[in-house]
């Protein structure tokens, strides 16, 4: 920021500046113009979220008043060398890793698994060749603009990962999408846009990560669409470790067709402001989703997860388990909505949100909601907010473990019930290590 005077972000101005940039770019992504136009027209009609909207009641967007976020221009990031991001990479990985720097595909940092032609991998900017027609057909197929940020993503998307796994194909090594944010002179906003399509009977694992080089102010406004055709299986593991000054929004849309299976684990550990919207639609019978999430909110961090689970088809199973750890003046917002439509008989859904408060100054706003219109279903929900258990602490200390370490072990234990669901050992190790480091600065 060049002046001391406070500047605010005007989302329409962000849109205009972003559109000018896109107009100056290459014509390779002309096929996106209809999608972008739909996004732009929604941006013009949608207001910035405020506390009067239930979905934003506890999640202020006042950071937009404190700085002017400008669209990130591609260019200077080519200078980043693999050595610069080495610390961010997961060890022992064989699969494809698509690295994006400030939202733009970085070929020099990415790894394309040799001979891995089975899944079709492309990026929105066309840098990995023409986007296959199947992917073009699915893009923007299920994203709904529930808020202006999603519309802004559609209007200004310029890069992102596109994965297509053909019928019955099984991708062995995990495919990784890694975002790296680098500090700029001005706070930047970028709009990563990803699409994952698994055809009938296909199987894949996708790892999605958001990291930063150094502490910087920026806003990652991501949108992910996932389409699971009948009988396909996707394991989706996410780790958000953004800069402590950053804002992060992930808007995920998942469609499950008949008999498909979606396994999701997310750990949101970073960012000053983090929000994840996960909208899941059971479109076909007998599908199953297992969603687990860990939210960390240390001092002055806000960590929000909104789930919107729509059981529209019968006989589907969904299990949602989210945990929050709060310290200092951290804040967790959890809103878990399960809708069971009238025709969705034999639905089996359970939702839980357990929170561990390490400080009396922290705040949890948790709201599980079951809306059930069918009569033959099994649904449950439960939420708790608690402190560290004194009996557990004494037990550890009576075995010789010092108090601070005992607290840390109990927090890790609390988190491990979620992190344990991460299948990739390197990702599990990284999430555990980051959590441990961040819990070191225990406030009380």
């Amino acid at each position: 920021m060049t002046t001391g005077e406070q500047r605010a972000t005007d989302l329409e101005k962000v849109l205009r500046r972003g559109q000018q940039q896109l107009a100056a770019g290459s014509a390779a992504d002309n096929w996106l113009s209809a999608v972008r136009e739909r996004g732009a027209s929604d941006v013009m009609t949608m207001a910035r979220p405020d506390r009067k909207q239930e979905a934003w009641r506890y999640t202020p967007t006042s950071f937009l008043d404190k700085a002017e976020y400008a669209p990130v221009v591609e260019g200077p990031f080519g200078a980043i060398q693999p050595a610069d991001v080495e610390e961010l990479m997961l060890g022992d990985q064989q699969g494809t890793c698509l690295v994006f720097v400030n939202g733009y595909y970085a070929p020099a940092l990415s790894r394309l698994a040799p001979g891995q032609h089975m899944p079709q991998v492309a990026v929105l900017s066309g840098q990995l060749g023409d986007v296959p027609a199947q992917l073009k057909a699915h893009l923007d197929g299920i994203a709904e603009h529930h808020h202006v940020f999603a519309a802004l993503n559609s209007a200004l998307m310029s890069d992102g990962a596109l994965l297509y796994v053909p019928r019955s194909a099984s991708v062995q090594a995990p495919i990784e999408i890694l975002h790296v944010s680098v500090g700029l002179d001005e706070p930047g906003i970028c709009h990563p846009r990803h699409l994952i399509v698994l055809e009938e009977g296909a199987q894949a694992q996708v790892i999605e990560r958001y990291c930063a080089l150094g502490e910087a102010v920026y806003f990652t406004n991501a949108l992910v669409e996932i389409i699971l055709r009948p009988g396909s299986r996707l394991s989706h593991e996410r780790l958000q470790e953004e800069s402590a000054l950053a804002q992060h929004l992930s808007d995920l849309h998942v469609r499950l067709d008949e008999g498909s299976r979606y396994k999701h684990v997310s750990a949101t550990l970073g960012g000053a402001w983090s929000r994840t919207d996960l909208r899941l639609n059971f479109a076909g019978e007998g599908a199953q989703a297992d969603l687990d999430g860990l939210m960390l909110a240390r001092d002055k961090q806000l960590n929000d997860v909104h789930l919107d689970i729509q059981h529209t088809a019968p006989g589907c199973i969904s299990r949602e388990s989210f945990k929050g750890i709060l310290d200092g003046r951290g804040k967790v917002v959890f809103d878990g909505r399960i809708l069971v439509a009238q025709d969705a008989q034999q639905t089996d859904a359970s939702l839980s949100n357990h929170n561990l408060m390490l400080s009396r100054s922290a705040e949890v706003d948790t709201k599980p909601q079951l809306e059930i219109y069918a009569d033959d279903v099994k649904c449950s929900h439960g939420t708790t907010v608690g402190e560290l258990d004194h009996n557990m602490l004494f037990y550890l200390r009576s075995r010789g473990i010092p108090s601070a370490r005992a607290r840390q072990m109990l927090c890790q234990g609390f988190a491990e019930e979620i992190l344990d669901r991460i299948e990739n050992p390197a990702l599990h190790g990284r999430a555990t290590r980051l959590l441990t480091e961040r819990l070191m600065t225990y406030s009380e």
Binding site: L396, S398, R399, S403, M409, L410, F414, E416
Partner: protein, 251 residues
């Protein structure tokens, strides 16, 4: 080794220990018996340093040094071990990791070198066999979903690994079937040595059929009211506690 003089303590403002004296020497096994509510568990917890028990008078010395100002972890490092009546479940905390962390914390505090993973695994394997524990329990979260007997065995495993100078077993025999009782007793007998002392807090004489005590005390109303040898335990079994406490209470 352990010297308690005129100890008084209360819980939530209620006096539980009322001038308790106890002297335990290295190599000895003491049984502390008594009716419910006599202060047995309070004594065990005060020795381990639990919050919420306020010592209002008296002294406790361990190896010549005052114990009461030490944190629970410092007491553990000096060689005091409490086997809990109700071992605590620690979801998400791996049992092997917990044991290694605890053992090395104690060793660090004593200025000893830490055990590396290889040395620890070797030790733990040997101790698991010694206490007849199912090996898979070591890979699970501490006590989480363990049966009552498994939890008690896990306490004995910890005792075997830490090799404390003074082991206090708080009603470790309660709720055990005969096989588990035998395992627990074998575990205690295995660590008996001329350098170590053991305090068994128990309501029933049954445990003393397996672990032969050198001294038996009867605790009532927060004081030791009678001290004898193992014959005293037999007498309690046939006569109950009433003749010592002045109350009509069954053993």
């Amino acid at each position: 080794m352990l010297s308690i003089r005129n100890l008084t303590a209360d819980v939530d403002g209620k006096a539980i220990l009322n001038g308790l004296d106890l002297e335990v020497k290295p190599g000895e096994v003491h049984a502390i018996m008594g009716p419910n509510g006599s202060g047995k568990s309070t004594l065990a917890h005060v020795l381990a340093g639990r919050d919420g028990y306020s010592v209002s008078g008296g002294e406790v010395e361990f190896e010549g040094q005052s114990l009461l100002d030490l944190e629970p972890e410092e007491r553990a490092a000096r060689g005091i071990f409490l086997a809990f009546q109700y071992p605590v479940e620690l979801p998400g905390v791996n049992n092997a990791h917990f044991l290694k962390e605890a053992l090395n914390a104690q060793r660090r505090a004593r200025g000893e070198s830490e055990l590396d993973s290889v040395a620890f695994l070797k030790l733990i394997k040997e101790k698991i066999a010694q206490v007849s524990m199912q090996p898979e329990l070591i890979k699970r979260p501490v006590n989480a979903g363990f049966s009552g007997g498994e939890k008690k065995r896990n306490e004995i495993l910890q005792m075997a690994v830490f090799e404390p100078k003074l082991a206090i077993l708080d009603e470790t025999d309660s709720g055990l079937d005969i096989d588990a009782l035998r395992t627990v007793s074998d575990g205690v007998n295995a660590i008996r040595s001329p350098e170590r002392a053991i305090v068994l807090v128990t309501h029933y004489q049954r445990l003393l059929d397996y672990i032969e005590p050198d001294v038996v005390h009867v605790l009532a109303g927060g004081r030791i009211v009678r001290t004898g040898d193992k014959a005293l335990a037999k007498e309690l079994e046939s006569k109950g506690y009433g003749w010592l406490t002045g109350r009509d209470e069954a053993a």
